[in-house]
Symmetry: C2
Subunit: 419 residues, 2 copies
């Protein structure tokens, strides 16, 4: 009997009809002889409703209540309700089941209420329950902190709950049911030749998540990588009796047929700032980026190039588009101190990232990228690289053209008509 | 510094505006130097919404999940949300506060999920917290059962939570805030001369609750009586800075000026059944009432009188009106076995109860009642008595007339114009 973990997000448990549908997926795994833990999110919309109530109630005045603790007590109730309802539906369909709240397992967190990290999970009681044939329905997104209060893990935390439970009980796999049927080589909504990826490594999945692929929460992938939990992404909108194969996220060495490039991801949530004619002296760049870091603004894709003014340089970089106004205001206020002559900003940029573990051992990935874009007359503004990712910043009007051209150049196109 | 418990029901915390109003009542007690525990119900309508979800999810098939356990996990979330929100609002208004779930206190119950009884309350942690000046906001209606799961106390259970906490921490009083400003000599909606009662004994309050006065849950009064908790009923719709005095429910010996009769209560939820010409032999009455008891139908006001048929008797009694159809069907099916000749039933009856601890030491209460009703030409059909209550069954068309006449006869009328 294998232990497995299944996780269903908010749209998969949006109402009782959807919850009954989830029960069919669970029944299939239980009847196949597995010992099953199911992790559930709050019903779609419920977390937003509870967060809005907390917002209306107001923030605690400093020193009068620990930040986030009451928020956690209120918002965690959403998953509590879903876990009870799914357990009832399973019982109603003739299966043994019970709900588990985080504090009942217990799933222990740190004290960072509202965005807690998991500290420890006791696998004894829940492991014994599922081995005895009772389905465990766990309220995701929450645990109990050292203060004895409920702590939530932050948005998307149910993915992390599922992966952490899978690690704790030594599950054979952790199936994340969502509203897409897997991870794709690129967004299928913008390119119809995108292919579902059969297997992808943790590292690649992390890079894809970091550039905006919203299939899995980044922390859950980090956790899966650390504990070698085999995660599968599949769709709860597939027929419960025969879901698709989904995408398996696993160790690189478990992927027999390694692609050089696994995916291509456009990220539109970028803006570019250029500071012209900054004095080329030690400490100038540090001053700029310290100013932004102190304001909690993430800087990426830094390029320094010689300025026409001798002894000066132009510095350009990208930041999240949502922070642009704030960053521009900060930099303008510090113009004299920083010593630049002009500031330019640009929202119409897109970051195109090419991701693949094969890059580690294959040269030429970058040159294919540059040549492919050059052939289409697309100018590369900034570049950044990691061991398994190359990102370029281009004019946003070329986003789709670039994705399609690169998708073909790296041999990712699905044969039209093939599945 | 006195410890006090305050309890607010669903209409008092119906939305954030009402919750902010509750916070003003709490602030007043805290600023007066009291150590405060606040018990809250779910926001009005929330429990019904959660119960409906459970109903839609279905009942567990036998043996596949303990009855009521998942219902408790789901429905208890309503109070959890209110407790967090009120704590946030209090913190936001500059007061130290925190929410407490039943399992955090812990408030331990028995295993009767869905209608659990409180087994034990640990007063240490919550007592220390309030003595340290932190307001404790307790989610009412719930605790933790020996199985480690959440258990709810049944409808109205937040009153019981409040009284039990008051007993556990040795509170000076337990204030139950509701939508009426106290307990009245009779329903003020049917008699404008009804007076608010300043003090009433536990025994009288129990009798009033048993005949349908819905101010407090019966179990909370029993608990208050057992532990000598001084309970006060007052209105959350009064100005928070100057609430009215309400009604104090206390030991009989703490009531200096004892009234012979404290209240008069009409109960319309009654129906009468008469079985004519039942053979007057040992065991016949027992057979009738065993049949009804086995069907969980409560019988009250039994009268046996000689029948015109020699060796036979007529037996009449009352039952809750909601059970009438079921009772009639049962008795008809058993007509032969029971041996009666005819069955009559009547829904147009009302039970008028006169309640007062003074009856214990004063004769003549019954005779005043019978004379008063006879003077108005009202026929008494059945009678039942307890040590502090006399109830009569009359034709329901005389209900208001009887209440008003008795209210005057026992000297309960408010002087018109007086408060």
């Amino acid at each position: 009997m294998a232990r497995i973990v299944m996780k269903f997000g908010g749209t998969s448990v949006a109402d009782l009809e959807r919850i009954r549908n989830v029960a069919r997926f669970v029944r299939r795994e239980a009847e196949a002889g597995n010992a099953v833990i199911v992790v559930v999110s709050a019903m779609a919309g419920e977390t937003n409703r509870l967060v809005a109530l907390c917002k209306e109630a107001g923030e605690p005045a400093p020193g009068l209540g620990a930040h986030g603790v009451e928020y956690d007590a209120v918002v965690s109730s959403g998953e509590q309700v879903t876990s009870g309802l799914l357990a009832l539906v399973l019982q109603n369909q003739g299966l043994r089941a019970r709900s588990w709240q985080g504090w009942q397992i217990p799933l222990e967190t740190d004290l960072a209420h509202g965005k807690a990290r998991i500290a420890d999970i006791d696998p004894e009681a829940i492991g014994a329950a599922i081995d005895g044939g009772e389905i465990a329905v766990v309220a995701g997104f929450q645990g109990v902190a050292p203060d004895g209060r409920i702590a939530t893990l932050g948005r998307g935390g149910s993915d992390t709950t599922a992966v952490a439970l899978a690690a704790a009980v030594g599950a054979a796999r952790c199936d994340i049911y969502t509203d897409v049927d897997g991870v794709y080589t690129t967004d299928p909504r913008i390119h119809k030749l995108a292919r579902r990826i059969d297997r992808i490594s943790y590292e690649e999945m992390l890079e894809m998540a970091s550039v905006g692929a919203k299939v899995l929460q980044t922390r859950s992938v980090e956790l899966a990588m650390a504990y070698h939990v085999r995660v599968r992404v599949l769709s709860s909108f597939d027929p419960p009796e025969a879901p698709g194969p989904g995408t398996i996220i696993c160790d690189e060495e478990d992927i027999v047929e390694k692609k050089i490039v696994s995916g291509i991801t456009p990220s539109h949530d970028e803006a570019k700032i250029s500071l012209l004619a900054v004095p080329d002296e030690p400490g100038r760049a540090a001053a700029i980026f310290t100013l932004l870091a102190d304001a909690n603004i993430n800087v990426d894709m830094i390029v320094q190039s010689p300025s026409r003014a001798p002894g000066h340089a132009n510095i350009s970089f990208t930041i999240p588009e949502a922070d642009l106004d704030r960053a521009v205001a900060l930099l303008r206020d510090a113009k004299e101190a920083l010593g630049y002559s002009a500031l330019q900003s640009d929202r119409s940029v897109v970051k195109i990232s090419v991701i693949g573990v094969g890059m580690k051992s294959h040269a030429g990935v970058a040159s294919v990228m540059f040549k492919t874009l050059a052939d289409r007359g697309i100018n590369i503004q900034n570049i950044s690289t990691s061991e398994i990712k190359i990102s370029v910043l281009i004019d946003s009007q070329y986003a789709e053209l670039a994705v399609r051209a690169l998708h073909q150049a790296y041999g990712l196109d699905r044969t039209p008509g093939a599945p």
